[in-house]
């Protein structure tokens, strides 16, 4: 997990690699565009009973069963029903060293921009609504704040909480 | 009418090589997996020669040769035994039992065909 974290961080802090920006409940998020496989219109979602709200859905992505994660749960946001703008961002990431394909719900997908254009500031430790470890940093893009979620850390934390429950 | 050779060997791969070599050269081949089966096939088929391994389960090659030679149909039928040793004592023993000749493993296909020419003709 740490590897992914460091990698992503290096990438985000380093020189130009494109980032995908998307909106969740009025906030703008950015993730490394290289990890994005595709963006889907809202498909049929199969609910997984008794799974935590963060990841309680499954979708069919070209014959693969892919779990769906909702960052709005992580960042304690409202979760309205999907509308015409709702999209699924399919990303590839490492979970416990294993390659995984995951879907992330986005209220709206905005843009692909160069991360250089985003001024990255360290997440302010004080006054944040959110768990600082879930953030790689805060950036600015076109006058708005952009949140850089630490995808690796978010999933690691989720897996840990699952393990705690099982044990 | 092609000549019929009986090959007796407990090793399928050796049997297969022998059969392949002989049938390619135009002989008919009958196979047996041990001495007892070999005796049964040698005495119930018209064979022109026998190629047998010595070390086999159920009935070994020497016992086969002795038993077969005691059967009248074996008169004049060449028996070639296969051996991995160039052990003279073994050759003497096999010859005393009634073997005609031997072939040392590993042999090449041409060697085997040469031996067959020698004992049964082309």
């Amino acid at each position: 997990m740490t590897e992914t974290l460091l990698e992503t961080e290096a990438v985000l802090r380093g020189a130009s690699r494109p980032a995908l920006t998307f909106a969740l409940q009025g906030e703008i998020f950015a993730i490394d565009a290289d990890t994005v496989r595709e963006i889907l219109d809202m498909p049929a979602i199969t609910r997984v009973p008794n799974a935590p709200a963060f990841a309680n859905g499954l979708i069919n992505v070209r014959g693969r069963v892919v779990p769906l994660a909702d960052l709005r749960v992580t960042f304690a946001m409202d979760r309205p029903e999907p509308d015409a703008d709702t999209r699924i961002i399919v990303i590839e990431t490492l979970l416990d060293g294993e390659e995984n394909i995951l879907g992330i719900v986005a209220d709206k997908v905005l843009d692909v921009c160069d991360l250089e254009d985003v001024a990255i500031e360290d997440a302010p430790q004080v006054g944040m609504r959110w768990h600082p470890e879930f953030l790689l940093g805060i950036g600015r893009y076109a006058g708005d704040f952009v949140i850089l979620p630490n995808i690796g850390q978010i999933f690691a934390d989720h897996l840990n909480s699952l393990n705690r429950e099982t044990n | 009418m092609s000549k019929t050779i009986l090959t007796i060997d407990d090793s399928p791969s050796v049997r297969q090589l022998v059969a392949l070599t002989l049938s390619t050269a135009g002989y008919s081949v009958i196979e047996a997996g041990d001495g007892a089966e070999g005796y049964e096939k040698a005495t119930t088929n018209r064979v022109n020669a026998v190629i047998t391994d010595l070390n086999m389960p159920v009935m070994n090659g020497l016992d086969f040769i002795r038993k077969y030679r005691a059967h009248p149909s074996s008169a004049g039928i060449p028996i070639i035994f296969l051996t991995t040793e160039s052990d003279d004592a073994l050759k003497t023993e096999a010859r005393a039992a009634g073997a005609t000749g031997w072939l040392v493993k590993p042999f090449k296909q041409d060697q085997m065909l040469a031996i067959m020419r020698k004992v049964v003709g082309a």
Partner: protein, 669 residues
Amino acid sequence: MSRPDPAETFRQEARDLLEALEQALLDLSEDHGDRELVDTAFRALHTLKGSGSMSGFDEVAAFVHDFETAFDRVRKGLAPISDALVRIALNAKDHVQLLIAEPGVHAAAGMPILAALHALVAENGVAAPPPGDAAMARPAKTVAEDGSASGWRVRFRLPGDAMAMGTNPLLLLEELRDLGPCEIVADDEAVPPLDDFDPLVIYLGWDVTLRADVPREAIEDVFLFLRDAMELSIDPLADERAEAGSDGADEPADVPVERAAPIKAAAASASKSGGASLRVAAERLDELMDCVGELVIAQARLSQIAGHSQDVGLSSVAEDIERLAATLRDTTMSVRMVPIGSLFGRFRRLVHDLADDLGKEVQFVTMGEETELDKTMVERLADPLVHIIRNAIDHGMEKPDKRLADGKSTCGTVRLTAVHSGAEVAISVSDDGAGLNAQRIRAKAEEAGLITPEARLSDHELFQYIFHPGFSTAQEITSISGRGVGMDVVKRAIEGLRGTIELTSKAGEGTKATLRLPLTLAIVEGMLVRVGDGRYAIPLSAVEECLELPASEVAGTSGRNFLDVRGTLVPYLRLREMFGTDAPPDLHQKVVIVGSGDLRVGLVVDQIIGNAQTVIKSLSRLHAGIGTFSGATILGDGEVALILDVAQLVSSAEQQQRRVSGRNLGIAA
């Protein structure tokens, strides 16, 4: 049919021979005096040497030759069978396997094995030098030392019985003629009067003048089989005949020295492909299985579309394809099934070596070798089973003196059994050793903070802590079990195969690990049900029957969830409740009775939709821990449905039953 490949035939044969050798050696370690076993082992070696050299496996033949030479001393009674000898012979056997698997890589590693082997069988403990270069001896064929001559005079007389013994003198003469022009004169001096004449005896001698410039050996070779029993003289002709002899010299009848091409080519192609052919075939089967999986999903989709269409032609094609896909699926799966016995054989050796190393006496008993499982499953079971068996012998089994003191026989027993049970295979490893120490496990679990000192747990519950990461109760860490790899790894591996593992144990009497595994990993026929607005698949092989939920049960009376199924009380689970479904229940709910092992449980659902092919997709790490589901599948309409984990549901129903009945039923069957 393609032409048989001698190298592959040899590899197959070698597998069988090495297996026979290993079994004989292991049997010998139990009974040092069985001559028949010695003969069996020797014969396996002998055949291996012969066919190895014939099939172009020269390294193998050379090594086995030395192996056999050493073993021959045992066969002749010159060296005794000992445990040490069996051990080294087993090493030697392993080495042969390596030589076959990867030619040209391991040759050097064989030297110390052979040296040890020869040291053991040597007289007075002095090692006889391993018999030299093990290149197979061939009939001597040196270059003629006395050069050539313009021709030869060959005089010979065959042994009297030569003809009866299969020698045809005419063929010998023909062979001489093949060497060059011959003048042949028969010597009939010894022919008896007719009354004494035996048609099978050769009375004639021959005097042959061969006018050809051939080496002496070529002539000697003609009489190869008879040379030491016959009269033979070969003398060079005088020089003045030299010009006459040159004609026939172009066609020497000597045996060509080149290795026969087809054999060599076969051997080369075999070593190129490496590994055992079965493995290659299995990979192709995996590809095939993947394709069949995709086909089945596509076919389900087609059937669904056809079902909504008025087009008769489309429906009929869809039906054909459905039938073909089902046949293809069944055939593919059946081809992949292999008896688990192929795996069991390997463990015999493991048990032997372990018992040896640990100074324990262990008897290994196997049952159900013929039980069939998917090939991949068998392969992936190997490591977990090795680990469980190791644990049984290392931790479970006591030393002989301890066993004796406890009133047991000095020799312990490890039992490995496999049996089909519904859609599952149950594999168990049991020992009659000391059993698990519940107190020690408890102490460990408390120490690790897994349970509080106050927690009240049955022994059975305590035992399951062995599967926690990093949990090891062996008091002394041995080289066998070591640290690091624990039963948690075993559990993960088994769960990765959609299986379960359970430990039962009784102090002083032994421990039993039971694995339950599905027959196959890829596709199952499923029953599709609806619970609320979710659809779920239940492996059809686990379904025993479907019933209407009796009106008396619909209300959901508290606690006692039992159905009377023809006189048997079957516990049931309300999936609507388990899954937290909001949608209103159907008026007529159904109960699907499923079985796992000896237990049955009813699952209450809203609707039974029908049967469907389910190509099993495993759940990601995010959902693997949920437990109720063994995987997911994609339905004909493209949506995902979860597959219910019947074994898990049954065990949770069982727990519920235990709670309700208020007594500890102990370990259920």
